[in-house]
Symmetry: C2
Subunit: 211 residues, 2 copies
């Protein structure tokens, strides 16, 4: 597998190429792509070399072709089955967004621990009691879990989820899954951490401007 | 200012120390802290050295003291004023979360372009027409904007926001703010990008397990 920073840049390439393709752009050089994305031409070339090249010296990249290659890399043909754990406000927002705006996933179940939510619908999917998680996974083998639960619940559930065959996590909880499970694929979205780092940097910037 | 990766680790240190403090732990060594966080003792020591040390050789760190220093670094006394642009499902979730779960910020206004939302309340804050953004910022000087709008709206609004004195962005849009405005403080949360990278990595892992 290519290095993680390279993989993390793929969606960004995909977004820019999709936009260019929609605007009718047919060819793009590595330096044009780099300028738009705020990176360097050499990094663009290196990144695509990890996946087999695609470009031609002096001619650049064929936008439609490169876009198609990226779609194949990122989405493939078969969707991944995702389950949502935690049907609170954030969970419901994420469920809607997986169903309507994200390619490559199918939301197959929603779980929560709160009996008041059982049977309620999140994006046409009934909220199931968390107690049914094991049975559901054994029967349906989802590959991805979206964790929108507090830290403690994430800690308790993660081992069960991994043993049930979950391979990838979109982790909104503050439980650092990778520490105990280094082999599992995790994308962490620590909203609180981002907000704290942002605050620190904003305050430093405002202080430096005052000087 | 310390390097960005160091700043990005501060919230994580803060979370772990807060938990230890709550559990009554009084002292922690750099290697214990490193083990919990999945990093190395030398990185822990280097990180804290960027902010003035705090530890003592052979004795480790005083948890309460270190926690207090981190709180000072991350939150200071005065809250930052934040405005939310985009009162859709994600925006409302984030607004609730800023009001109830995040330290260091005060949500002072919510804006949207949809007249159907004007006057509706998001966390006790009335949704204002986006046309009032300039006047609001001139009068109230918020420091932070949370962008929960589509790419095009983010592109259009970012320059206006920066000229209105916004210093930091929590950016959920797919507009790569930093490319055109390298000096602005931005924390990007590209949910779509995270989901795409996750999909790529999960598929690669499943393929490698099949071999």
């Amino acid at each position: 597998m290519p290095a993680l920073p390279v993989i993390r840049r793929l969606p960004k390439y995909y977004r820019y190429l999709r936009e260019m393709h929609a605007a009718g752009v047919e060819r793009v050089s590595s330096s044009e792509l780099a300028r738009m994305m705020g990176t360097t031409a050499s990094q663009v070339r290196q990144d695509f070399n990890c996946f087999g090249g695609y470009g031609q010296q002096g001619i650049g990249y064929d936008v439609a072709n490169l876009l198609q290659e990226l779609e194949l890399l990122l989405f493939q043909e078969e969707k991944l089955d995702a389950i949502l754990i935690g049907a609170g406000s954030l969970g419901c927002t994420i469920a809607k967004w997986i169903n309507n705006e994200v390619q490559g996933y199918r939301l197959t179940a929603v779980f929560d621990a709160d009996p008041a939510l059982f049977g309620q619908k999140v994006c046409d999917t009934k909220v199931l009691p968390i107690g049914l998680l094991g049975a559901f996974c054994a029967q349906n083998r989802p590959q991805v879990a979206v964790l929108c639960v507090p830290r403690e619940a994430a800690r308790t559930l993660s081992t069960q989820l991994i043993e049930s065959g979950i391979t990838g996590f979109l982790n909104f909880s503050h439980f650092d899954l990778s520490v105990g499970h280094p082999d599992v694929v995790v994308e962490n979205i620590h909203l609180g951490d981002s907000m704290m780092s942002l605050g620190y940097r904003v305050r430093k910037k405002l202080e430096s401007e005052k000087l």
